[in-house]
Amino acid sequence: MRRKPPAPLLLIGAVVAVVVCLPLIYLLIRAFGSGWSPVIDTLARPRTWQAFGLTALLAATVAATTVVIGVPIAWLLTRARLRARRTWTVLVVLPLAVPSFVAAFAWLSFVPGFSGFGAAWLVLAASTLPYVILPTAAALRGLDPAHEEVARTLGIPPVRAFLRATLPQVAAAVGGGALLVALYVLSDFGAVSILRVDTLSRVVYDSYRASFDRTSAATLALLLAVLAMLVVAAEQRARGRSQRWRLATSAPRQPPPVETGRGPALASHLLLVLVVGIGLAVPVIATWGQMRTGTSARLDVGELSSAVLTTAWYGLIGMVAAVVLAIPVGLLAARYPIPSVRLIERLSFVGHALPGVVVGLGVVFIGIRLFPGLYQTVAILGFAYAVLFVPKAIAAIRGSLATVPPVLEDVARTCGLSAWAAFRSVTVRLVAPGVGAGAVMVLLTVMKELPATLMLRPTGEHTLATRLWTLTEISAYAAAAPYALALVVVGAIPAVILAVPLARGQTSGDSIGPTARAELEESSP
């Protein structure tokens, strides 16, 4: 099954990895440019290792929380009889549209004194939960429910049947989601700075902002990169184990929704209300409240709408750039998991764990030297977005490709198609929805990006995030609130696009139509 990748593909993949790692090269130059001693000085500070430990702990607890909460929610949305299932599906995905700095700020204004590790944990877990829910629910939907049913006939109670028969089969999807969550937490600056938790990314910012110390900042950012590599490697190992299990199966039948008793139903609704409340309702309501408190709330509709358009435009550029770079790496990772490919994959993920300011400065350093003509145009900005968010696209491409057995391409070739034509007419068609979802995820993330956008955008152009920053910087929170809300609303569009296939996948348990009944009745495809 372990085939050798075609040399050109491997070459392109390697080039992508190097390109995406340019900021890492910048960091090495910056950190070691003036010898080892400043690096050793930075590493000798106890504060560095405190931040390192705290960052690792925060990433681990947030990732664990999103798994523990996200998997049951994914199950509820795909398997249980749930009132207003479609609405809930959209609602739990919507926190993706709330940037973590908006959420953190809103929470702080909602609960005065809201800060510290626990606060950051809550805000980050609530805003990253959809990263676990989406892939897990999709994987559950694709699974044959017969496994769980057989387990039940073998004397295993429902929860344990799920844990033993189903969970291992969706573990790769859960792990992929948890990986994105962990990397998000590593790179996040907005929430941790507002909620005052000294993670590495905050210390990196401090090195720039308070000490003007780029060497120390680079050293700390390299530490973050190391942490990211460890997380990615751990996920790769877990996935490597799970990939052997894959068994080509026919399209699964959709099981009838599971009836829960009144108690569990109440508990599930409570969980959903809590998740949507923390991740969506409180941020939106508190931001709305901000708008009504101050006198700075004069809204320039022209500025707002031009910021909306620029946000969408940059989002599309970042999306295309990230997906184009991700295709060769995703293809290699799904089809040819040899050690060199694993390395390429690992390197491509590093940018995602670095704070935006680090990637921004790295692209400044490299862009102005290699492509002076493109500096501070959307071309270089798009490149920065690709570096930051290519892992999201890679994960989507790899995940979709893994569900398409290469044998289908072999079949197509026996039908007289060239290798490329077979790939295009079979594999590309089959992975399109999954890759599309990854692309939309990138789009959504780019729209919320701030530090790299500030540095690299064409002079004078504004996204919603930069407007928001400009206004909060001078503390005109009431004037900033419409931009925060607009960002949430604009972000809600891709978020809904992500939620729709999931919401549509199954008829609501309450109103089962004749077609659905026939499907239930007749299990043979």
Binding site: L154, S250, E259
Partner: protein, 222 residues
């Protein structure tokens, strides 16, 4: 546990979705140790009956007795895992993340060392029974379709169920293999003496496999 007074007894069963009955006033009796076949075309309700027997669906009315025990009736509802049944689904539905031994021993205890040894012995015995000795470490995707089904049968027999439910278990196989496997499984069930219910749309298969054939007609059995 193949109790003499057992078998399968269904009385006045009604199962429906959204107020529309799929099965109504259904009666069925399968004496202990007998193999029954339920034959019906697509959408006739035979799978619904099987799912009600297994406890995946809750009937609106009527009683179900398995191995002499009332598992479903007025005020009585026993969940699937306590019904002591075996299920052989369409394409086996082997757990892809477990090897053959893990699949067959899925429902057997393995907390203590003693339990693990007993389970391993039981698995080896069952695999010999289905003519797959020594296949413990193989993965489902390394097995042919017929072998997968035999592992599924072994898994269903592992806990000495009072009744085995077979849901079109041979439909995905080619004709020769289907006949061969059908014969092999029938011999096996007779040897173990388990009550069994086969759901199929194939009249010939129903006649060859079962001691008695029931046909779905309307919302009942003939």
């Amino acid at each position: 546990m193949t109790g003499e007074a057992g078998g399968v007894r269904v009385g006045d069963l009604m199962v429906g979705y959204g107020g529309q009955p799929v099965l109504e006033n259904l009666e069925l009796f399968v004496p202990p140790g007998e193999i029954a076949a339920i034959r019906g075309s697509s959408g006739s309700g035979k799978t619904t009956l099987l799912r009600a027997l297994a406890g995946f669906l809750r009937p609106q009315r009527g009683t179900i007795e398995l191995g002499g025990q009332l598992v479903s009736g007025p005020g009585v509802w026993m969940p699937t895992e306590r019904r002591n049944i075996g299920l052989v689904p369409q394409e086996g539905a082997l757990f892809p993340h477990l090897d053959v031994a893990g699949n067959v021993g899925f429902g057997l205890p393995r907390r203590t060392r003693g339990e693990r040894r007993a389970t391993a012995e039981r698995v080896a015995y069952l695999l010999a029974l289905v003519d797959l000795p020594g296949s413990e470490r193989l993965r489902p995707h390394e097995l042919s379709g017929g072998m997968q089904q035999r592992v599924a049968v072994a898994r269903a027999l592992a806990r000495e169920p009072s009744c085995i439910l077979l849901d079109e278990p041979f439909s995905a196989l080619d004709a020769d293999l289907r006949r061969e496997l059908r014969e092999q499984v029938r011999r096996l069930l007779k040897k173990v003496g388990t009550t069994a219910i086969l759901v199929t749309h194939d009249e010939a298969e129903a006649r060859e496999f079962a001691d008695r054939v029931h046909r779905m007609s309307g919302r009942q059995l003939d």
